[in-house]
């Protein structure tokens, strides 16, 4: 099975181009040489290898090198050091093309000379996804599952005729399959660098090019961007594409995007092109879809790695011809005051209003489960908002929704924003949505100056700090307990020591601190003791000592 995935690369002449880096071709020989050289290093150790590369050619060399040595490959979603440490990547097991990361290095030169690759064992590959809670979650796949899916892409859409350009990362399954493995297996060429902007896509794309993109990118095509060549395909995955975005891409680039429904767990499931808004999905070849007892879409295919149908969490409705429509996430049904409320239904009602461009609705467990709405307004809506203020405007929304929704379904809290927050895959993470409704508990840090055991912060006590609520309604002040809390949280961030705050001495609160005030906070650590001092307008307003945990 793995033969098919690597046979083109393995058998190609040294000089055959397999990828482009900017305007330069990278050859099969160069890619093989980099893979074999890395394999030499990886053979000396065992266990899983973390692979993070910015460049997809380097990535491919890293992937093949690790497979040759029979080591599992784990793909971090990004390269933030704290995140890498959290998932267990370290110098000894990290392969990267970033000089800023400590680990083994992989790099594909322009040319190289290397014979055919040795037999490549099947191997396993793991993707880190963010669950709905936002914590990194590992999903392991057999390389044979990916290989089976690449074969299906080839059967369905043929061989990419031109070079493949991607706006999405190969560290995720969709980018890896579509941007890298599909062209590589079929003898086409892929651009090794990710194209973050449409301007850069326009510079790179050649004749019959294929664009691998996402709803996040397709929803934001700058109006002045033109492509020299009409793409053969534009793919989109990671979430549904709005009908406007699909039609917008068609109007501007002459190509209606092909959407692929799938997830890391299930692999590809179905595809569609939105000729009409809300077009039904056609299952991919070799994929059997059905509905479980809850009405959720389930998937049985060689790409899932499971022998029983895997549920996807979307409510599904089948058409007679075998196609299907999705009716919203089942896990997006929440209970408000004991009554079941469908968040997609509330979002749909809001989206139907002329002032609304985009919207996300979330339940707020911190606020007794009430709903919060995050709304992006149209130009007309923004004018109305600045005319009457967010409170009055949110009440107008509630009044407008009353005609369609039951009282429990009405959002109680409202945030008007420029953009609904989403991660780089275009996913909306519930915990991030909810954090928009939480008042901040730390002041805004305007500057930070650290020297060894001493650190000084300039802080702005913004009026929406949680601590000002209820102390006291007519004259809010920053309570002493909050001053201690802020000092110990910032100290823990700097030195990694917890200062619980109950073991304190010499604490003096000399003057109150008020909303909007700018203060400086100096922290001095002596072993496990923390001295703090707040200064405002040249005078010490509070000071004391807190003892830290051993």
């Amino acid at each position: 099975m793995m033969e098919a995935l690597w046979s083109f690369l393995s058998g190609a002449e040294n000089s055959t181009p397999v990828a482009c880096r900017g305007s330069r071709d990278l050859s099969a020989g160069a890619l093989r040489a980099a893979a074999l050289s890395l394999a030499e290093d990886l053979r000396k150790d065992e266990g899983a290898v973390f692979l993070y590369c910015e460049d997809a050619a380097n990535f491919t060399a890293g992937l093949i090198g690790a497979l040759i040595c029979g080591r599992d490959i784990l793909l971090p979603a990004h390269s933030a050091p704290a995140y890498l440490a959290e998932i267990g990547a370290k110098r000894q097991n990290l392969v990267s093309d970033l000089s800023t990361l400590d680990g083994m290095h992989v790099s594909v030169a322009e040319d190289g000379d290397a014979g055919a690759l040795p037999a490549i064992p099947d191997g396993r590959i793991g993707f880190f996804t963010s669950g709905t809670s936002g914590d990194p979650k590992l999903c392991m796949k057999a390389m044979t599952q990916l290989s089976a899916e690449v074969a299906v892409l080839g059967n369905l859409w043929g061989t990419p005729a031109g070079a493949v350009v991607g706006t999405v990362s190969h560290q995720h399954i969709y980018g890896l399959l579509f941007r890298v493995l599909w062209p590589l297996a079929s003898g086409s060429v892929f651009f090794s660098r990710i194209h973050e902007t449409w301007e850069s896509v326009a510079e790179s794309i050649g004749e019959h090019g294929t664009v691998i993109s996402s709803p996040a990118h397709l929803g934001r095509i700058p109006p002045e961007v033109r492509l020299r060549h009409k793409p053969a395909f534009i793919f989109s995955s990671g979430g549904p594409l709005t009908p406007q975005a699909a039609q917008g891409a068609l109007a501007q680039f002459g190509c209606l995007p092909t959407e692929v429904l799938g997830s890391t767990e299930t692999g590809g499931v179905a595809w569609r092109r939105q000729v009409e808004p809300g077009e039904a999905w056609t299952p991919l070849p070799r994929v059997e879809v059905s509905a479980d007892a809850d009405g959720a879409l389930t998937v049985l295919s060689p790409f899932t790695g499971a022998s029983v149908p895997v549920p996807m969490g979307d409510a599904v409705e089948f058409l007679e011809d075998g196609r299907f429509r999705l009716k919203g996430r089942l896990d997006r049904i929440v209970k408000v005051e004991g009554k079941r409320v469908s968040l997609p239904r509330v979002e749909e009602a809001l989206r139907a209003l002329p002032q609304v461009e985009d919207v996300a609705v979330t339940d707020l467990p911190d606020r007794g489960g009430a709903l919060g709405a995050i709304v992006v307004l149209t130009g007309e809506g923004q004018a109305a908002l600045s005319a009457c203020g967010s409170f009055r405007y949110s009440r107008d929304f509630r009044a407008a929704l009353r005609r369609r929704l039951e009282p429990m379904e009405l959002p109680r809290f409202w945030r008007f924003v420029d953009e609904v927050p989403q991660n780089s895959q275009g996913k909306r993470i519930a915990s991030v949505m909810r954090s928009l409704f939480r008042s901040p508990e730390l002041p805004q840090i305007e500057s930070e100056n650290r020297e060894g055991d001493k650190v000084e912060f300039d802080l702005l006590l913004q009026p929406d700090l949680r601590w000002f609520e209820g102390h006291f309604p007519d004259q809010p002040i920053l309570p002493g307990v909050a001053q201690l809390h802020i000092a110990s949280v910032l100290a823990e961030r700097v030195w990694g020591i917890e200062f619980p705050g109950h073991d304190m001495s010499r604490v003096k609160f000399r003057r109150v601190m008020q909303p909007g005030e700018r203060v400086s906070l100096s922290l001095v650590r002596r072993e496990r003791r923390l001295d703090f001092q707040y200064v405002s307008g040249g005078e010490i307003v509070a000071s004391g000592t807190v003892r830290g945990l051993e």
Binding site: F391, P407, L410, R412, P473
Partner: protein, 83 residues
Amino acid sequence: MTRDEIYETLKGFLVELFEIPEEQISLDANLADDLDLDSIDAVDLILKLQEFIGRKVSAEQFRSVRTVRDVIDQVNELLEQAA
């Protein structure tokens, strides 16, 4: 507790529970028409007041309430009964 203190506490509740800007709250503000509180909001407010007064309060006792001033009157009366 004075009526002024009750008013300040009530303002704090309205800001905290419903994100009503403080400057929109006045003694004559009508809960339904000016502050747009609906029946569910009213239940939330009564629960909060119950916590504050320290004894059970029925929705019945707030049936005739229309304005912020009415709420203060009602709370004042309940506090006096409790004393």
